[in-house]
């Protein structure tokens, strides 16, 4: 038993350290050595907490925290990091990966050396012998050309048999990928059907000056804007990920193509979140007042039936509503047409698309509002109403001076929470309208009903002109800040911080 008690924590902390090393290695590769180190220190610290008898309770917590660290906190930090880069289509690789890729490119210099060749075969393996213009025959060994014969290719060589001329061209596909590196940064490659030629490495990176030399044109390529750039401004593809400072944030203010749609999306997001929250709670409160009546028959059944929209997974209801609201053949328009002779262009005009969003989100959201209002109403002491009745107060006077004030203090934090939820209500926007209709006067991925989070999604995952992870992450950060402010405000008004200090 005692043995178990000493061995267990040691084993446990070793496992944590191993996991830590593994993930630090990966994170270090992905996000840079510093993040890898930080992550390693965190896991190492966790394993110390496990070992130390006084911090024994951490043994229960570490698994949950480790998961949270990798899949929740790290993405938040990573988002912040991406926001300061140009990460996106055309800028996916790191700079050193781009250099490595460019340094593999070769070119054929003028007056290069050409060689005739013969193929030798031994089973599946092949070898090449080369003959230069003066008839010297070479083999390639250890990055060098070694003279082995003159004038005629031997019929056998190191156990390999020569492939006769007529069969030679059937092997040509094998030769195309051959690339023999020689000592002075040159390469032997097939240049036409009958010759191998001496190629030179085209791009050479000079770390001290941080430039690439193009040896074909003798130009200096300078890293600029995420690309190696020629003196005439031509960019070398692929580009690389680069730290760009505040540029993404500045684009939100200064670059018209970004700032205009961003501002519109931002204003609509606030209007949407405030509007739909108020609407849902007004309706929810109204229903709760109706239902908060002991004499009402079928109350239990009504309540169960009315929360059905809450019970159905939202994505299903939303996809159904898209069908029902179809302009041409949807049920809603057919009913409206037969009753009033009108067809509403639900998803084609901004105003109607927004009306559709409010109505459908009311359908999705009023059961929750009703339920919490009902709960809050039932917690208001009966005696208050009784004494008000004795004083001769009417129903509406009671509502105004007892019910509403008490209710608002109880559901205030919930209103704020619902606002924050709708601020990020991706599902409703994306599945119902997908942000459409598009903004007619600006060329952008954002539509007139897009909110910030769906705009972010489009920038990152379905941009028509490629993905822009940097800008998407920047907008995520702005959403972070807004939501954090709202939540802290919420804790403050609900006195949550005070309540929690008690648990110290």
């Amino acid at each position: 038993m005692d043995l178990y008690k000493t061995i267990f924590p040691i084993l446990y902390s070793i496992i944590i350290v191993v996991i830590g090393i593994f993930f630090s290695y990966i994170i270090g590769n992905v996000a840079g050595i510093i993040w890898g180190l930080i992550f390693f220190l965190v896991t190492f610290f966790f394993s110390l907490l496990i070992l130390h008898p006084k911090t024994y309770p951490w043994r229960y917590i570490v698994p949950a925290f480790l998961l949270m660290f990798i899949f929740m906190i790290y993405p938040i930090i990573y988002t912040i990091q991406i926001a300061f880069t140009n990460y996106g289509t055309g800028h996916i690789l790191t700079k050193s990966q781009v250099i490595e890729q460019l340094e593999k490119e070769t070119y054929l210099p003028q007056n290069t050396q050409n060689y005739e060749y013969a193929i030798y075969e031994n089973g599946n393996k092949i070898k090449i012998l080369l003959k230069d213009s003066s008839g010297n025959i070479y083999k390639i060994d250890n990055k060098k050309l070694i003279l082995i014969a003159k004038e005629n290719f031997p019929s056998e060589f190191e156990g390999y048999k020569i492939v006769p001329r007529e069969k030679k061209f059937s092997k040509i596909s094998l030769l195309q990928n051959l690339k023999f590196e020689l000592e002075d940064n040159s390469f032997l490659q097939l240049s036409d059907l009958n010759h191998f030629s001496l190629y030179k490495q085209r791009y050479v990176y000079i770390p001290e000056e941080d430039v690439i030399i193009d040896r074909l044109t003798n130009e200096r390529l300078i890293p600029k804007g995420g690309f190696f750039t020629r003196p005439n401004g031509e960019k070398i593809i692929p580009g690389f990920v680069e730290f760009v400072g505040m540029e993404n944030f500045l684009r939100l203010i200064k670059d018209d193509r970004v700032s205009k749609p961003f501002l519109r999306v931002f204003l609509w997001t606030i209007f949407w979140a405030a509007g739909t929250t108020l609407l849902n709670f007004t309706v929810g409160l109204f229903l709760a007042l109706l239902m908060n009546d002991k004499n009402l028959k079928f109350k239990g059944i009504y309540r169960t039936l009315l929360i059905v929209p809450w019970a159905i997974p939202a994505f299903i209801s939303l996809l159904i509503w898209v069908g029902l609201l179809n302009t041409e053949v949807g049920v809603v328009n057919r009913i409206l047409f037969s009753l009033f002779g009108i067809k509403i262009p639900w998803f084609l005009e901004t105003t109607w698309a927004r009306v559709a969003l409010f109505v459908v989100n009311l359908w999705l959201g009023y059961p929750y509002a009703m339920t919490v209002c009902l709960g809050a109403l039932q917690s208001i002491p009966e005696e208050l109403y009784e004494s008000a009745k004795v004083d001769g107060a009417s129903y509406f006077q009671q509502l105004r001076s007892i019910t509403l004030p008490l209710l608002l203090t109880a559901i205030g934090p919930l209103l704020v929470g619902t606002f924050a939820f709708n601020f990020n209500n991706f599902n409703v926007i994306y599945l119902l309208t997908a942000g459409k209709p598009p903004m007619s006067d600006i060329s952008t991925v954002a539509g007139t009903t897009d909110i910030l989070i769906s705009y972010t999604y489009k920038l990152a995952f379905e941009g028509g002109r490629g993905q822009d992870y940097g800008l998407a992450a920047t907008i995520s950060i702005i959403v972070f800040i807004i939501i954090a402010t709202i939540s802290i405000f919420n804790f403050w008004i609900s006195g949550m911080f005070k309540r929690e200090v008690r648990y110290e």
């Binding site: 209801s317 929750y368 924050a420």
Partner: protein, 281 residues
């Protein structure tokens, strides 16, 4: 007087019935579409002219059962692992005093405000890179998706469960400790059995939340054979309402039914879980 009250209640019933019609409007049309002969939206009537089960028998061909299988794998695993990790951590936060407790709790409180979707760009890139080293945690894997859900749900659920554990008197545990039980034995022999209500709340809300998620699943899963129900259904119907409406309706109903039944049967439990911390008790 009594009669008066009853008459007064009639308008209430009328208003509630109007809302019931609003509530069941999409439900009724979907049920009707799922049993109506002919697939499109065009000319649909609430009471179908010809009844058929063809849409339900089509479900196998459109991949419905594969979506549901993937959804269940992801949701059930997420629910079980969430309960496992969260209950351990919540137990420590509730029953011990230790170094770092206050700030950890505060950190959790702040972290639970951030829905996982705000880090979606980073989550995508993280899985993209992770997949190169650990293939089963990469993009387009169910296990990678599970990890993302798992990480995101931890802070809120620790707080929720800790609140419940706080209400269990310490004396129960203490008597077990005196009888020679270890702390861990006290946890799983005393605390866990007493906490089935909260364990079920966390399990069920994680299950439903995961089952209903569209965004993260759509980012992570690219291969149609890996689609969960949400991603599969959306890709199936998107832009095809005029021809696939019937099959879609059948899939919607079968896919929603288990969740609706579970939700309504356990509504008090779930509602108390979802609105907790809000309505002051």
């Amino acid at each position: 007087m009594k009669k008066n009250k009853l008459i007064l209640q009639i308008p209430k019933h009328i208003i509630i019935w109007i809302f019931l019609i609003f509530t069941f409007f999409p439900v009724a049309w979907t049920i009707s579409a799922s049993i109506r002969a002919g697939g499109g939206l065009v000319g649909q009537k609430l009471i179908p002219e010809n009844i058929t089960i063809e849409h339900y028998s089509n479900l196998k061909d459109i991949g419905f059962f594969n979506w549901i299988k993937n959804s269940l794998i992801v949701s059930v695993t997420t629910a079980i692992l969430t309960v496992f990790f969260v209950s351990l951590a919540a137990y420590a936060f509730s029953k011990f005093d230790f170094w770092g407790k206050k700030y950890s709790l505060l950190t959790l409180l702040i972290l639970q405000m951030f829905p996982a979707i705000m880090g979606m760009v980073a989550v995508y890139l993280l899985l993209y890179h992770l997949g190169k080293y650990i293939p089963f945690l990469g993009l387009n894997t169910l296990s990678g998706l599970i990890m993302v859900y798992l990480g995101g749900g931890i802070p809120y659920n620790i707080w929720l469960m800790k609140g419940f554990f706080d209400s269990i008197p310490d004396s129960l545990e203490e008597s077990a400790l005196i009888d020679g039980a270890t702390r861990f034995q006290a946890y799983y022999k005393i605390i866990l059995p007493l906490s089935t209500p909260i364990l079920s709340v966390v399990a069920i809300t994680s299950f439903i939340g995961t089952y209903s998620d569209f965004l993260l699943a759509s980012i992570v899963l690219k291969d149609p054979s890996k689609y969960t129900f949400a991603v599969g259904l959306r890709n199936f119907i998107s832009g095809m309402y005029d021809v696939r409406w019937g099959d879609f309706a059948a899939a919607s109903i079968l896919g929603a039914l288990p969740i609706v039944i579970m939700f309504l049967a356990l509504q008090n439990l779930i509602v108390s879980g979802l609105t907790r911390g809000a309505v002051k008790e």
